[in-house]
Symmetry: C3
Subunit: 389 residues, 3 copies
Amino acid sequence: MKIVQKNLSQLAKLKTDMFGKDFLLTWEKTDAEIRALALVAETLSELHRAKKSLRVFDAGLAISIFRDNSTRTRFSFASAANALGLGLSDLDEQKSQIAHGEMVRETANMISFMAEVIGIRDDMFLGEGNTYMREVAAAVQEGFDQGVLHQRPTLVNLQCDIDHPTQSMADLVALKTHFGSLEALRGKKIAMSWAYSPSYGKPLSVPQGIIALMTRFGMDVTLAHPEGYGLIPEVVALARHNAKKSGGEFAVASSMEDAFRGADVVYPKSWAPFSVMQRRTPLLRQGDRDGLKALEQECLANNAKFKNWECDEAKMKLTRGGKALYMHCLPADISGVSCAQGEVAASVFERYRLATYREASFKPFVIAAMILMARVKNYPAALRRLVKA
Amino acid sequence: MKIVQKNLSQLAKLKTDMFGKDFLLTWEKTDAEIRALALVAETLSELHRAKKSLRVFDAGLAISIFRDNSTRTRFSFASAANALGLGLSDLDEQKSQIAHGEMVRETANMISFMAEVIGIRDDMFLGEGNTYMREVAAAVQEGFDQGVLHQRPTLVNLQCDIDHPTQSMADLVALKTHFGSLEALRGKKIAMSWAYSPSYGKPLSVPQGIIALMTRFGMDVTLAHPEGYGLIPEVVALARHNAKKSGGEFAVASSMEDAFRGADVVYPKSWAPFSVMQRRTPLLRQGDRDGLKALEQECLANNAKFKNWECDEAKMKLTRGGKALYMHCLPADISGVSCAQGEVAASVFERYRLATYREASFKPFVIAAMILMARVKNYPAALRRLVKA
Amino acid sequence: MKIVQKNLSQLAKLKTDMFGKDFLLTWEKTDAEIRALALVAETLSELHRAKKSLRVFDAGLAISIFRDNSTRTRFSFASAANALGLGLSDLDEQKSQIAHGEMVRETANMISFMAEVIGIRDDMFLGEGNTYMREVAAAVQEGFDQGVLHQRPTLVNLQCDIDHPTQSMADLVALKTHFGSLEALRGKKIAMSWAYSPSYGKPLSVPQGIIALMTRFGMDVTLAHPEGYGLIPEVVALARHNAKKSGGEFAVASSMEDAFRGADVVYPKSWAPFSVMQRRTPLLRQGDRDGLKALEQECLANNAKFKNWECDEAKMKLTRGGKALYMHCLPADISGVSCAQGEVAASVFERYRLATYREASFKPFVIAAMILMARVKNYPAALRRLVKA
C-alpha cells in the first residue's frame, strides 16, 4: 500500500476540473487531468489487489450503449460499475431503430432518470460516433436544466470514430508501469504501425488515440502505414502539435521496418483506410449490402498487397536491443493461430501474450477512475476513505 | 424537503392495505391507496432529487418479463429496482416458447426463489395479458402456500391488454404536480382522444387506464374516437360509474375538436379498434402472417380515413385559453419528425416536449412506490428512515 | 432456526478443503465436502426462509457463460449471486464465435478482472464441455500466477457433458430433506431410468450425476435404459466402485419395470444414446445441418421403439407401497400436457408436481454454498455472522 500513499500525495499536487464533465476525447483534458486519471486508476487497481472495497455508491445505474460488438470493453465497463457500487443496465437498441435527431433526445432522457454514467461505443460510422455522444450529452444536459432529470449523468466514450480513450489511457498506465513513471516515457520511441489483417473496416480510433496521447508525454512517436491508410488529418496534426509542445517527436513512416528501428515499444495493429471508411458510412446507413460487399472485396484486395506488414521476429530484431515492448488492444490477428496470416507472428505474440493481458487489465480501473472523478467532487477524499476502510 | 414532511403527514391519515398485494389494475385499489401511492411516489422522487438513498433492500431480485418491446418501461423498472437495492433479472422468453397453462405454473416458481417482485408487460393479446399475470400470481401463491417459495413475490402490471397502471399513475402524479393537488383536479376537463397514426395494433391500455383513473378524482373526462375505435365496453362503463361516484363527468365525443373544446388537458394518442384487436389475437396466436398482413392493410386503410385526427395548432386553440397541457405516454408519432403524418403536429409537440419528459420522469418512482408498499409493511416508517439517513 | 444451529455444529466436525477450488465434478470432492456442502446449502435456505440476509460480498461479479439454453439454472445462478452480494454479468458468446484454444485463454482473463466466480453450462458436445471448463480454469490460473488477475475466480459447473453437480447436489439435499438425513438414505432404492421423449440430444449429465453421487451414500441405485442408451462407461464404472465402497448397491436393468420394482425413489428421464452424442459432436462442430437432421430422424425413429418407457400409474404401482418419490430435473415431457406422449403420465406428474418444484428450490442455495465455500476461507464463521445479523 506504499504505492497508494505515494499516488495520493502526488494526486494532491494536481489541479483537476473533471467533476460533472464527460470523458469524450483525451485531448479535451489537461495534462494534469490525464496524470491524475492515471494515478487514480493505478490506485484503484492497487486497492483492488489488496482486496479493499472500491464501493463509493449505494445505488445508481451505469447505462451502456453498444452500437458495435464488444466483449472486453463491455466487461471492463460492467466491472468498473459493479466495483463502484452501480448497477448495470444495457440499452439493447437495434442499430437502425434509434436514429439520430429527435429520438436521441428523448431516449437519452428516458434511460437516465437514475443514471450516474452512460458509456457508449459507437465506432462504425466515420464522422458519427463522437457526434452521437455529443447529442446524448446535450440531451441529458437539457433534461437536467429543465427539471426532467435530478442529476445529469456523465458520458464516457467507450470507443468512437475519433478516439478510444479508455484504451489509450489503459495503454498509458501500462507504459507508466512498464517504464516506472510518466517521466521515464520521455524520449522513448513508440511505433504505432498499421499491420496486415484478413479483415477490413476496423476503426481508426486506437491508432488515433495512441498518437494523440503518447505525444503529450515527450515520447518519440512514429506512425507507420502503407500509402492510402492515413488517419483523420486533424488528429495527425494534433499529434504533431502535441509532440512539439511536450518536447517529444512525431514522424510518419512508410514501412513497419522504419518505424520499428530502435523502438522501445511497438503497437502493430490493422485499421481501415480513412477513405474507405468515408465511403463505407453512407453504404452502412443505407443498408446497401451489395455495395458493402463490393467495398469489402476491393479493400481486402488492397490490404493483400501489404501482407508483409506483419510484426514478425525479423522486424522485432530491428527494435532497441531486439526487445521492444509489444502492445495490442486485443484481440490480435495472430498468424497461424486466429487466421492464416495476420498482424503478428505467433512466436512474437506468445512471448508478449501475458503482457497484453496485463495491458488490458488496467481498463476496468481506468473506467472506474473516469466515473469516480466525474461523479465525486472530492475524489481524493473518497480514495482515502477506501484506503482506511 | 418540506414537501416530504407534508407528504408524510398526509400519508399518516390514509388507510391502505397493499402489503403483499399485486398491482394489476388501478380499480382494484381504493381511493386512499391511490392517494397514498401518489404521495409515496412523489416522496421518493423528492428524496432522489435531494440525493438521498432510496435503498430499503439488502439483496433480492426484481424479475421482468417483457412479452412486447419496451425501452422506457424497461428502464423505469430497472431504475426502481436498482434504487431500492434489488438486482434485476430479465426472463428473456421467446414469445412462443412459454405458453399458457402448465408451463406458466412451473416457470413462475422456477424464477421466483429469491424474487421480491415480478414486473410483466403483456399487451399484445386482447383478453390474455391480464389473464397471464393472474396465472403467474396464482402459480407463485401456490408455490408459497406449498412451501416451494420462502416468500411470494409481488406482481406489478407493466402494461397489459386492459390497463397500464404504472403509466396512468405517473400521469396522475404529473397532473397533481401541474395543478398543485389532487383536489385541484376536480372539474378540470381532460380530453383522452384517439389520434391518427401510420401504424396499427397499438394497445388500448393507455386510454383505458386514463379514463378509468382520472374519473375517480372528479375530473371532467371526455373520450373521443372515430366510429369503430371504441374501447373495452366494461372499462368505459367503469369510467362512467367512477365519474358519477366522484362527482366528475364522463362523456364520449365523436371528434377531436369536440373533446378539445375548453379542455385543460389533452391526451391525443392512437390505438387499434377493439374489434381489430379481437380479430388479431387468434391470428397472432396461430402465427398467421398472411392473415396479419391482410388485417394490417385493412386497418391502415381504415385509419387513413381519419388523418385529420391530428393534434395540431388549430385544435389546440380550442382548448381553455388555447393553453391546455398536452400529455403523451411517449413515443409520439410526430408529423414531419418521426413519421410523415401522425398523432401530433411538430410545433405542438416541441412546445410540450419537455413536459412529456417530466411526465415520464414519475414512472420509475411510481414503480418504486408500488414495490415499496407491497413489500414493506410499515412503509411510512421506511420512508422516514430514508429521510433521516 | 434450531435446524441452523444443528447444521452449524455438524459442520464443525467436517474437514473440508474447498477454498479457492473449482466445483467441476462431485467425485472430485470428498464425502466430508459433499456433506458439508449439503449442510451449508440447507443452512442458507433456512436463513433465507427466516428472512435473514445472505450477503457476504460488498461487490464483485458472478460471470455466467451459457453455451446452451437455460432458464432455471440461469435464474438459480443469478439468485445465488444476488443473494451473496455479487453482480451478474452474462457472457453472451455466439456459440461459434469463441472457439477452443487461443481465444479461451484470452477471453477467460478479459472477463475476470473483478470476477469472484464463473459459472459455465456447456453440455452439447460430448467430450468437450468439461474440457472447456478446465481450459478456462487453466487460463485464469495462469492469469493469476502471472499478475494479470488480482484474484483467481472460482469455476462452477452449471452442467457439462459428464456431470451436472448443481442438479445432483440439489437432488441430494431434496432426498436428505425427504428421508430426514443422509444416513436415512442407506439402503433406499433409487431407480434412475431412461424415459421416452419426442425430442433427442438431451445430455447424459443428469443420469450420470445421479448414479455417481447417490451410490456414495449407501443407496441401492438401479440404472435402467434400453439397449444402446448406455452412459459414459467410466461414469458407470465409478458408480459401481462407489456403491462397493459405501456399502450400497449398483445395478443396470433393461426395463423401467425392473428398476421401479420396490423402489423408494424413481427418476425417469430421457437422454440421448452415448453413440448418437458421439456422432453428433462433429456434426454440430461442422454446422452440418443436413447431417444433424438425418441423425435426429434416425434417433427419433429409434426412440419411438421405446414409447412404453413412460412413468405411468401402472409402473408407479410397482414401487415400494406404490408410493415412491418421483423426481425430475424439470422440465419434464408430460404425456398429453407438454407433448402427445413423453416421459411421464400427467396424473403421476401432477401428484408430484410440487415435490419437483421443492426439489428445484434447493438449487440456488446449492450454488450459493459452492460459491461461499470456494471464496470465504472460514465459511462457518461467515454463516454464524449471517445467523446473528
